[in-house]
């Protein structure tokens, strides 16, 4: 079907039903727009940061 050389900030449409493979000469990042499916693995809880909840007696602890 073809090939595309995309760089920083570029956006590419892959045809429905196509098989594709990515090659990167050096470490780089791509963001894939897709839908959750049977092969999806969600690991957000391991990756994401959140602020810890303050403890109810935290003021007393810091005194």
């Amino acid at each position: 079907m073809g090939h595309v050389r995309a760089r920083r900030g570029h956006m590419t449409l892959l045809p429905a039903g196509a098989a594709y493979q990515f090659h990167a000469g050096s470490p780089s990042v791509i963001l894939l727009q897709t839908l959750a499916g049977r092969d999806t693995v969600e690991r957000w809880a391991e990756i994401c940061q959140t602020a810890p909840r303050p403890k109810p007696n935290s003021k007393e602890v810091t005194r």
């Binding site: 079907m1 073809g2 090939h3 595309v4 956006m11 449409l13 045809p15 839908l35 809880a45």
Partner: protein
């Protein structure tokens, strides 16, 4: 109960400042040189006219968006996707406690026509509600012409992806989109596309950063690519988000350049929840039960990733889905 009548599009005679007054149901709207005056059966409210016009411009352009569009902490709309609530004080704990809140439901077409009529009459020739404050003239003063071109811009809603054959075109100098003054450092190179014969309309690539660097509006998420109900809605931001968006679903934000600070509050009461500083490369998920407002010190690029699945608001409202996509 839905008010089914079309809006009375306003007074025939202008007020002493040159502006018409408008009514919809039991709400009325008037403006003077600096302020908008909103009245409902048990209350009144004032908003700065520039902020009000920026807010209703987006509400109209976005088709009332997903969930709640607060113009400020008192006035706003709730989208029920076919009808719209216009409210005062409904998501303000103090107004609720004092019994000063009021809400009325209208057919979407009726409230759209009202806001479009207000925008047409109250937007002076010098003012562009979509532009950053540094790129527009004043909204204030007595009636001074109109700015139809600014308030009726085409809204980008790609069917597959911008730049694809038959879809929304990319932006260029020639079609009226020069590079913005704050994005002159954005590379304008094009990807290399080598489509085999017969696949030219399926293998497509564009420079999204270049596309965004040429946006002439701020805080206006526009659909650039579609994967069923997954919508990429990038936008360029500068100054303050003109509305406080109350979510009815999770929204993902990917900060593509520069920095935005977000104030995050409880959607229903306005109680402060968090302040989030996002720098280039940062990702955040705005929960389905909050409202948020962004502050962008210089023009920045933000990818808003929307899930347009129509069943989501009911699932969140019924507690069948947790409001945040990550459980810690």
């Amino acid at each position: 109960m839905t008010t089914d009548t079309l809006p009375e599009l306003g007074s025939i005679e202008p007020n002493p400042h040159g502006y018409r007054d408008f009514t919809l149901g039991k709400f009325s709207f008037g403006r003077d040189e600096y302020f908008v005056h909103v009245r409902w059966p048990n209350g009144t409210h004032m908003l700065a006219v520039d902020a009000f016009l920026r807010a209703i411009q987006r509400d109209v352009a976005w088709g009332f968006f997903y969930g709640i569009v607060n113009f400020d902490t008192v006035i706003g709309t709730v989208n029920h996707y076919g009808t719209v609530d216009l409210f005062a004080g409904r998501f303000n704990a103090q107004y609720r406690q004092a019994g000063l809140d009021y809400s009325e439901n209208f057919k979407t077409d009726a409230i759209s026509r009202l806001f479009e009529a207000i925008l047409a009459d109250w937007t002076n020739a010098t003012f562009d509600p979509f532009a950053s404050p540094a790129e527009t003239g004043s909204a204030f003063g007595p009636k001074n012409g109109s700015n139809k071109r600014a308030i009726t811009r085409h809204r980008v809603t790609a069917k597959r992806m911008i730049g694809a054959p038959g879809d929304e075109p990319v932006r260029t100098d020639d079609n009226g989109f020069p590079i913005n003054r704050q994005f002159t450092d954005v590379t304008q190179d094009a990807p290399e596309v080598h489509a085999e014969p017969g696949f030219e309309d399926q293998v497509v690539s564009v420079n999204l950063f270049a596309y965004l660097s040429r946006s002439d509006v701020t805080w206006n998420p526009s659909v650039v690519s579609v994967c069923k109900n997954s919508l990429y809605c990038p936008t360029t931001e500068e100054y303050i988000l003109p509305i406080i968006h109350g979510n009815d679903r999770v929204e993902w934000f990917v900060q593509l350049s520069d920095e935005i600070q977000w104030e995050v509050e409880d959607r229903d009461t306005g109680a402060v929840r968090a302040r989030v500083t996002m720098k280039a490369g940062d990702v955040a998920a705005m929960p389905a039960d909050i409202r948020h407002r962004g502050f962008s010190p210089k023009r920045s690029m933000l990818l808003v990733w929307e899930n347009a699945s129509p069943e989501l608001p009911a699932l969140y409202a019924a507690g069948k889905m947790p409001p945040a996509p990550v459980q810690f």
